[in-house]
Symmetry: C2
Subunit: 368 residues, 2 copies
């Protein structure tokens, strides 16, 4: 399971694992893939700096990357207070009503609440990049298309390639024109922000669109070696994975209060996701729960545009997370959730991917 | 590109080509695949009988199959007149208004209009099966899940295996429990009736769910050898294809007035489809045109349940087809339409699939 991109990045396996957990990211890198740490949870640059220092120490010298979130078309700046004023009262009262209906208790008074949205702002994402470039990183990925030109330039000056997600061939070409080095073809079945075109069609479309200008990673629906083989058969140089790391043991080490979320994921089928704008304002695939169902009801308001929707629901997310009810989880996850049926160590997930990949190739050999 | 299913059915390539055109179906079979003739267009059993006699003569002795449409949960019987009474006036006037708005002219007085819906009724579909079993067919496929038990029994008595489409693992298991021999895993990206789970996730899910009890064909998003290789890597025993045959030269021989439809498909991208209930009452993926956009407008009524919706729009479909305007086509097609960029002979499509498949396998070899 080796492609030219492995040599370029110094990794053994073309498995790129996006995760908000440094314990998961480090374990992916140690197992031969490229762990990519999501930075959006770090509103405080010093906190990210400390976590990346931990990554430097705990990856056995293996490469790792970081993922930032810089949407191209939202207010680049603005304090949380300014933006909060733009949220209609009707939306606030709807969220309050749903939380009451779903029996989600208020947070205890002493809770140190996560603000939620700041990582989406350009000022914060830029500080993430600056902090990350002081560490031993091998990739800067942007979850929402091309980062701004100065960010690409900064990364390149530091010798770090830049990856960007694309849901259409035309977007992929634009990213490469902007200087992006690796395109992540994010299929409809993927968790989080995702478009309408499914991986089977999207991956070869993007591979053909960018040609030799950039390697393409397949994202969406990949959680087994058969799916890795399919991704590489479609022309991808590797797989960008995210969902499958949510049900690893290491995830709990970073986020010890995530047992209810893992319970919900482990029992879900591939039909138990929904693509909706309620998480961020842009279409994103989430686990289907009583929370997403409430937003699909006839009395629910339309979600607000990014970044207001995430501001609107960030307090609700904190309450939902603290409540620990698997039926009311709010969690981005792809259709591959149907295959995530137990909580396992990262190394086991990767070992299975490799073994199943070899079996898939042996099966293909027999078709000759 | 050979699997055990090829030996079982006596075909050279595990390419199953569904098409309403006997010229296309025969060409697919002659080229080594299995042409599967859609029967829903034949309201007259004698007409189907004549066409299947033509198939017997024009397939060089190679196997072919037929596809029927027997929904499990619609009125099994009832004349067109009875059903027509169930259509609300508001729906009729909406269709009339849209046709006016889109400048679709009335049919000439001398047009012999296709009735449209009858092929969906069990009585008609049963007559299709009876007619087909008097011909040299190698497969009876049902586009909407398990056929009724007596139909499965009749086919098995004649030594003909039965295939059924499934959009979930649980549906596939039910089909096999019902006696279905081959499961078609119809991914979200497919044209026509389709579910929410995309091929990358659905195919291995169904392969695992049915195990050794039935071979699985991957449907949805397959139009190149890379996609064939991906399908087989995912564990499928072959590919069920449909969309890619719509832009073949042979299609025009059966449906000579389809040039506008082909023009529309050839210029469409993978983003130019929409999954909607407006064609039959069940969710089906269609080419996105001014017709589908009209039904997505705020003033559009909700589509009717099957089979009423197809009855409602069948006259409109005839008018749209006769109008020959590529911007107002009503046509089921999958996301693979973005790769259908010219009108070609069937044999060329298949030759490219085979060549590209070999290239994909060679590429995979290099990852070892």
């Amino acid at each position: 399971m080796r492609t030219a991109l492995c040599d370029r990045l110094g990794i053994d396996l073309p498995i790129f694992g996006f995760t908000p957990s440094e314990h998961v990211a480090a374990a992916i890198s140690r197992a031969g893939g490229l762990g990519v740490l999501g930075c959006v949870r770090f509103n405080d640059a010093a906190e990210l700096d400390a976590v990346l220092s931990w990554m430097d120490e705990n990856t056995d010298g293996k490469p790792y990357g970081v993922d930032i979130v810089m949407p191209a078309k939202v207010p680049a700046e603005g304090s949380q207070t300014d933006l909060t004023k733009l949220i209609p009262d009707g939306h606030r009262s709807f969220v309050d009503k749903v939380l009451r209906d779903l029996s989600v208790p208020p947070l205890p008074d002493d809770t140190d609440e996560r603000a939620g949205v700041l990582g989406w702002l350009h000022s914060v994402a830029r500080s993430h990049v600056e902090v990350a470039l002081n560490h031993r990183i091998s990739l800067v990925a942007n979850a929402l298309g091309s980062p701004p030109p100065d960010v690409i330039t900064r990364a390149h000056e530091a010798g770090v390639p830049v990856a960007a997600l694309a849901g259409k061939g035309s977007h992929a070409v634009r990213h490469v024109d902007n200087g992006v080095d690796v395109v992540v073809a994010q299929g409809h079945e993927a968790g989080g922000h995702t478009g309408e075109i499914a991986s089977m069609v999207l991956v070869p479309e993007i591979v053909d669109a960018v040609g030799d200008r950039a390697p393409v990673l397949a994202a969406g629906g990949i959680g087994s070696g058969r799916q890795m083989a399919a991704a590489l058969a479609l022309g991808a140089s590797g797989a960008w994975t995210g969902s499958i790391w949510l049900t690893t043991q290491e995830y709990l080490r970073t986020m010890p209060d995530s047992a209810a979320m893992q319970d919900a994921l482990v029992s879900a089928t591939s039909a138990d996701t929904v693509r909706t704008r309620i998480y961020t304002g842009k279409p994103a695939r989430l686990l289907k729960t009583r929370w997403t169902e409430a937003w699909a009801a006839p009395d629910a308001p339309d979600p607000l545009p990014m970044p207001l929707q995430n501001l609107l629901v960030s307090h609700a997310h904190n309450r939902i997370h603290a409540a620990g009810d698997p039926a009311v989880v709010s969690m981005p996850v792809g259709q591959i959730v149907g295959r995530m049926n137990r909580v396992r160590p990262v190394a086991d997930v990767i070992a299975d991917l490799v073994e199943d990949y070899e079996e898939a190739l042996s099966r293909l050999d027999k078709t000759r």
